[in-house]
């Protein structure tokens, strides 16, 4: 079973596909290889992409221990975060991630933290997930930088590149991919492969830290 989400906001919940069509066509004609899209277009000028699904949430327990972690900042009186109705945990060598579904049935949140840490370091959500977009954030320790990505069903790989030119890739499992790079250099670009086989590249600003 999978959870299906639907866009309702034509302005903010839209996808950069229209703006990418020309790039895709040009890339296909000139390179003759795999399509590569680059995000960064104003969503208001792009066409809507209706649904995103997360199989991991479909099989999640209604009230697993992972759900408790979303309550961690509750004393901080969070604003605009939904109540979590189901959640599950993904553990990797570097990062432990809890994934939760909001009561509205479409908002998906993650709380990545360093493996072994007992406190959350952040909570991140997407209100209207796009099936072709990975949501991602960083986690750092003294020796490495990890990019944790929430990947809708169909996204088959996720990669990160740092300012030193190093890259790391990860295959999503239960809608989570964690790409870990050595050191603390800035992450300059992330990319992922969509269900259509398109490689989406997203350059990151110097302030993304």
């Amino acid at each position: 079973m999978s959870i299906r989400t639907t866009f309702t906001n034509s302005l903010s919940g839209v996808h950069a596909k229209r703006a990418s069509v020309a790039v895709l066509a040009l890339g296909g004609l000139c390179a003759g290889g795999a399509a590569v899209l680059t995000t960064g277009a104003n969503p208001a000028t792009a066409a809507a992409n209706p649904t995103a699904t997360f199989a991991g949430l479909g099989s999640a327990a209604l009230d697993s221990p992972a759900k408790a972690s979303f309550a961690l900042p509750a004393g901080a009186d969070l604003k605009a975060f939904p109540q979590i109705v189901r959640a599950y945990r993904v553990e990797t060598a570097k990062v432990v991630v809890d994934v939760g579904l909001g009561t509205d049935g479409k908002t998906v949140c993650i709380t990545p933290r360093l493996a072994g840490a007992t406190l959350n370091a952040s909570v991140s959500c997407i209100g209207e997930p796009d099936p072709d977009k990975a949501m991602f954030t960083l986690t750092r320790d003294a020796k490495s930088t990890s990019v944790t990505a929430l990947t809708p069903d169909g996204i088959s790989s996720f990669s990160a590149k740092n300012a030193d030119g190093q890259t790391a890739g990860a295959i999503p499992g239960r809608n989570i991919a964690v790409a870990t790079l050595p050191g603390q250099s800035a992450i300059t670009e992330v990319s992922w492969v969509t269900a259509n086989g398109e490689t989406v590249r997203q350059p990151l600003s110097a302030d993304f830290e």
């Binding site: 221990p65 007992t118 991140s124 600003s205």
Partner: protein, 133 residues
């Protein structure tokens, strides 16, 4: 064995939650298009929208940014000290392709000033900021 460990970790996390939540006399600021004075509407890309409520510098435990529900390429929630140093966190202060990000700091000192921002294309958006001790 692993289940036991899992339970222990969860218990510690929950205990920490209860510990910190009990200090519920949290002081907070919220700044957005509906606040007084209004803030963050519109916010151009790569421009900081600073907390404009009450006392400027506070022992912020966490800062939150909320953008459009469809997400923005990058949204960030940060705080800087009077000396201009970014408050540290084990996690990133920014979120890619998301709509809501809450950064928890590793400590509440020294006092800092909170701000939110977004990036990814040339344009403007409305943001909401929230900071709490």
């Amino acid at each position: 064995m692993s289940a036991l460990k899992f339970t222990r970790v969860s218990f510690v996390a929950l205990a920490a939650s209860l510990c910190c939540a009990s200090g519920a006399s949290a002081y907070s600021h919220q700044w957005n298009p509906s606040s007084s004075p209004k803030a963050c509407n519109p916010v151009s890309n790569d421009v900081r929208c600073y907390d404009n409520q009450g006392t400027t510098y506070n022992p912020w435990y966490g800062v939150q940014v909320t953008g459009p529900s469809g997400g923005l390429p990058e949204i960030c929630a940060k705080a800087v000290t009077l000396a201009g140093n970014l408050r540290s966190s084990q996690s990133g202060h920014c979120l890619g392709s998301g709509s809501n990000h809450f950064t928890l700091h590793t400590s509440t000192t020294p006092d800092s000033r909170a701000y939110v921002s977004w990036s990814g294309y040339n344009g403007s958006n409305a943001l909401s900021g929230y900071a709490t001790t």
